[in-house]
Homo-oligomer: 294 residues x 2
């Protein structure tokens, strides 16, 4: 594990001076309490923002307008609204339904004053003959969503996912590919698309520094957790920052070298460990690690 | 699944006309019988080659010279000797021991008349400060092995592994990175290094066609299996060709477009399915699928 204090050669914001940019992605807490309670827990722990998931917000128990007010009153920003329905599926009808669903979510993201709507783009469309066609269907879906993003004033942040999710979660898998997709999308909608960089998904990339540098001006979010070695589960065995092998200060330095000076968001899927720990303990450890090892 | 017969637009060898190039990587059979018996099973099933693992060959029960003769007498070629000790480790002593071990293996590869010695390069070296240093340690180890490869006349085939193995199995993770490493290694040893392309590891790459094209003249082996969706285990849940999502004919067409006209090797790690099926049935299905969907 790299320690921030040992990284004196790196040019980095001191996160102690900008706790308003520390954000908690609520997936980290395992969806074990109502979102209203999570807002209070996150604010009390010292975070300046949160990134709620749709499954917590778009339920009959939640009045979005009241939730938005509660978040503001707690002094929290919304670093992102998580996440798109996949722009992939069994057929055109399924993809159209996902598009409508994403339009609805963008309106809610606007009501929450979210900094972005996070796009996990989806994997292979089973009715398409091949991977290139599936990727094109995703691009088509993103373009179709651009107008709504423009209307509501919330940009869509493409999240490249680790290649191990290519088949069933996201066919956007590298920083270089995100750069290429942005070129296509921004030709139609110059302000409506950006990228989220998540340490877990990109740390292994042999072209990491170049890939991040080429996204300068387009980075809308930066997510942290850690890669455990060995990893026991492809989705739900992510580690707390400092418990794995990612060089987090070096990675943040690359991101901040592009001029990025916004949220550092903790997002950890951990069914067997952190999702079994008390919520307040998870929040406390996350803040500590943000300040010590990120 | 793509079917070869439907891919009339693709320029491909008809594998029915070149069964001498069909190879069985013995890992596919789950190491359940002695290598001598596997040689006979593989030949009887109609393969023209096999790729044995060191753990089956370098044991007191095996006389390498006799095994080499048995393989020749069975009419089989050796498409590769599998695989290097990792060029990574806890410290320099461990890495030096791996180097010596790899030198010994190269001599055995030569005795078996293997077409190449397959390099799975290893992941992070825990005594190194970071990923770049770990990658450099691997390159140093490969360079140190070049002279022995030259002496014995067996080239080293770098296998880029899926990025999900970066931490603990291989920090060589893309075709573009393999191209860059080849440039470095071939500057010292022009004939001693090449690449193995394995469909499982590279199918997701957004730069797949370009990545393969840039390896023209350096491809020493082509491995097939399939990516199951969803995948249950990061190592041991690989699928038989046709049971997953990889467009195998399209991928082989890219490889053969570089001029490659040698082995198509089946390598499947499948603890819960194929390793529980009778060896002869696995071999029969593998041949059928090679001819039908690869």
């Amino acid at each position: 594990m790299s320690n921030v204090s040992e990284q004196s050669a790196l040019s980095l914001r001191d996160l102690r001076d900008c706790q308003q940019w520390l954000s908690m992605n609520t997936a980290t807490l395992g969806y074990r309490q109502p979102i209203q309670q999570t807002v209070e827990s996150v604010a009390k722990a010292g975070f300046g923002a949160l990134a709620p998931w749709r499954q917590e917000v778009e339920t009959p128990d939640v009045n979005v307008s009241a939730l938005a007010k509660q978040i503001r009153d707690a002094g929290l920003a919304v670093s992102g609204y998580v996440r798109t329905a996949y722009f992939a599926g069994e057929n055109a009808q399924v993809r159209q339904a996902a598009l409508e669903d994403n339009r609805k979510a963008l309106h809610i993201a606007a009501e929450l004053d979210a900094a972005c709507y996070v796009a996990v783009v989806g994997g292979l469309s089973t009715d398409k003959p091949g991977i290139d066609d599936s990727r094109q269907a995703i691009l088509d879906g993103l373009l179709a969503l651009g107008e709504t993003a423009q209307e509501v004033g919330v940009p869509i942040a493409l999240e490249p996912l680790h290649p191990m999710y290519a088949a069933n979660r996201a066919l956007l898998n590298t920083l270089a590919q995100a750069r290429d997709w942005l070129h296509i999308l921004q030709a139609e909608y110059p302000e409506q698309f950006g990228v989220v960089v998540d340490a877990y998904h990109v740390w292994w990339d042999p072209q990491l520094e170049q890939g991040i540098a080429e996204l300068a001006g387009n980075i809308m979010g930066y997510h942290v957790c850690d890669w455990l070695s060995p990893t026991q589960d492809m989705l739900l065995d992510r580690g707390m920052m400092g418990d794995g092998v990612i060089q987090l200060p070096e990675l943040r330095a690359m991101v901040e070298a592009t001029g990025y000076a916004r949220f550092v968001e903790v997002e950890i899927f951990s069914a067997e460990h952190w999702w079994k720990m008390p919520v307040d303990e998870v929040l406390t450890v996350a803040i500590e690690r943000l300040l010590q090892v990120c």
